[in-house]
């Protein structure tokens, strides 16, 4: 029970500070920051996120990392940067939204969630430059459309009207997205373009893992619509990447040709 003047309210991070339970905040790790590619595409009916699964140091440390997490029923949060801090951030964020919901009997607005993440990033990145950079995307029930937010290292939050990318492979992914994105895309088209952008990043950036047909490991594809958060099945994801790969094989690996 807190006295009224120091009550943390529905804010979970404030509660943790009161209780002196500090979330992990980054320091030096040998993992090179931002060795990742995540893309998020917006469409009127929702958002699509695609992320590679590789954790890179001077070698490949892990091939199965899940960089996109469900923050709540209608929100996804993806991370790049120091793995430990990023994963902790996802956990705290998810708990924060749930905590708010239970404390107030009300769901935080998508903009509210994006702003909450801002202050959190600002605090984490005070410990070192750009330890973690996230992407937040979801379906805004109050305004009935998909929305995508990206961040700078100090916690600045920028809403994107089309797409956002984070990680070392961003440049390559962004190239594909710039050429392929249209305003009136369906979710299915967003999935295919997002997968292609990720394929490009995996192809060119040494710290981004592309599709791994040998181990049956593929980038994770997530869709958030009015119906909520869902992950595209492994079979479907495999099909999508097999199709891209087959098109490339036809041209002996030369770039160009079809965008989708």
């Amino acid at each position: 029970m807190f006295p009224a003047h120091s009550d943390p309210g529905p804010n979970f991070v404030a509660l943790l500070q009161h209780l002196d339970i500090a979330p992990v905040v980054g320091g030096d790790t040998h993992l090179s920051p931002h060795a990742t590619t995540v893309v998020a595409l917006r469409s009127d009916t929702g958002v699509v996120l695609v992320a590679d699964r590789q954790a890179t140091s001077s070698y490949i440390a892990n091939r199965e990392v899940r960089k996109i997490a469900q923050a709540d029923r209608h929100t996804a949060v993806a991370i790049s940067g120091v793995a430990a801090t990023g994963l902790e951030l996802q956990k705290v964020l998810q708990l924060s939204f749930e905590h708010y919901e239970k404390m107030t009997d009300d769901v935080l607005s998508l903009e509210g969630k994006a702003n909450y993440l801002s202050s959190f990033i600002g605090r984490i990145n005070l410990q070192g430059p750009g330890i973690v950079l996230p992407l937040l995307a979801g379906f805004d029930l109050n305004h009935n459309r998909g929305r995508v937010f990206e961040y700078d290292g100090l916690g600045g939050c920028y809403e994107k009207s089309d797409f956002a990318t984070i990680g070392s492979g961003s440049e390559f992914a962004e190239g594909a997205l710039r050429l392929g994105y249209r305003d009136d895309m369906t979710i299915e088209e967003c999935i295919e373009l997002g997968a292609l952008a990720l394929y490009e990043a995996g192809d060119n950036d040494p710290a981004t893992g592309g599709p791994d047909f040998v181990r049956n490991l593929f980038p994770i594809i997530v869709v958030v619509t009015a119906d909520g958060f869902s992950e595209v099945s492994l079979e479907r994801t495999r099909e999508i990447f097999e199709a891209i790969s087959a098109r490339r094989a036809e041209r002996q690996g030369r770039a160009g040709g079809q965008l989708r």
């Binding site: 029970m1 979970f12 509660l15 943790l16 209780l19 339970i21 956990k91 705290v92 708990l95 749930e98 905590h99 239970k102 404390m103 009997d105």
Partner: protein, 225 residues
């Protein structure tokens, strides 16, 4: 110089208990019952936004009767306790018995030492899984915990409501029957409660991590008709 009155400890406790009971008796009652797939919570509550029943954690619900601001504070303290415990250890380690003890301790201390006893009664219910049983812990205004086996009634008219509810037998039934019995017990023979007058929620496994759901007026109406 004036002398302070001497009050025997017995009288002191009696007065405080009477005070708390009076406050609780002013409010309407609430029934919690185990049914074949979970726990059902039914409260008579004309307000659609000032809730008596709410979610604490994945498999734990809270219900309170009496003074709203007082059980609201207890509810929030419970959510904080559960979320910070789950964060520090694991979601599996958040247990209703520990939470009920936390409440009992707070209510007990406030009853004997506080400025005024809290005019509330609360219920902590848990939907069982593996090593954790389905439970209803009833915590009184003075901090006594009762582990209720099949159902619990909280609030002013508890004894009457209880006797009406047990008329329907001892068996654990399905959601619809349990809801009808609970509503019948709350309303009594002379009144008719509509879904509008009720706040209904349940804990049931429907494939999600969070098992707490509020039942909409329409859904309650369809079950009652």
């Amino acid at each position: 110089m004036s002398m302070p009155y001497y009050v025997t400890p017995e009288q002191y406790m009696k007065d405080r208990a009477e005070y708390a009971q009076k406050g609780i008796a002013r409010g309407r009652s609430l029934v919690a019952a185990i049914y074949d797939a979970g726990v059902l919570l039914v409260a008579e509550n004309p307000s659609a936004s000032l809730n008596k029943i709410s979610e604490i954690y994945d498999r734990i619900a809270f219900a309170g009767v009496g003074k709203y601001n007082e059980f609201h504070e207890l509810r929030q303290a419970g959510i904080r306790w559960a979320d910070s415990t789950g964060f520090s250890y694991s979601r599996e380690d958040v247990d209703a018995r520990a939470l009920a003890n936390f409440y009992a301790q707070y209510l007990g201390v406030t009853f004997t030492e506080g400025g005024k006893p809290l005019e509330v009664e609360i219920l902590v219910s848990q939907l069982g899984i593996r090593n954790r049983p389905t439970k209803l812990y009833h915590v009184g205004f003075e901090g006594t915990i009762t582990d209720e086996t099949r159902f619990a009634v909280l609030g002013g008219d508890a004894e009457t409501v209880k006797s009406r509810f047990v008329q329907h037998g001892d068996d654990i039934t399905d959601l619809t029957t349990t809801l009808r019995n609970a509503v019948g017990a709350l309303s009594g023979p002379d009144r008719n409660l509509t879904p509008n007058d009720l706040e209904v929620a349940r804990l049931e496994d429907l494939g999600e991590r969070r098992t707490f759901q509020r039942l909409s007026d329409d859904f309650v109406a369809s079950l009652l008709s």
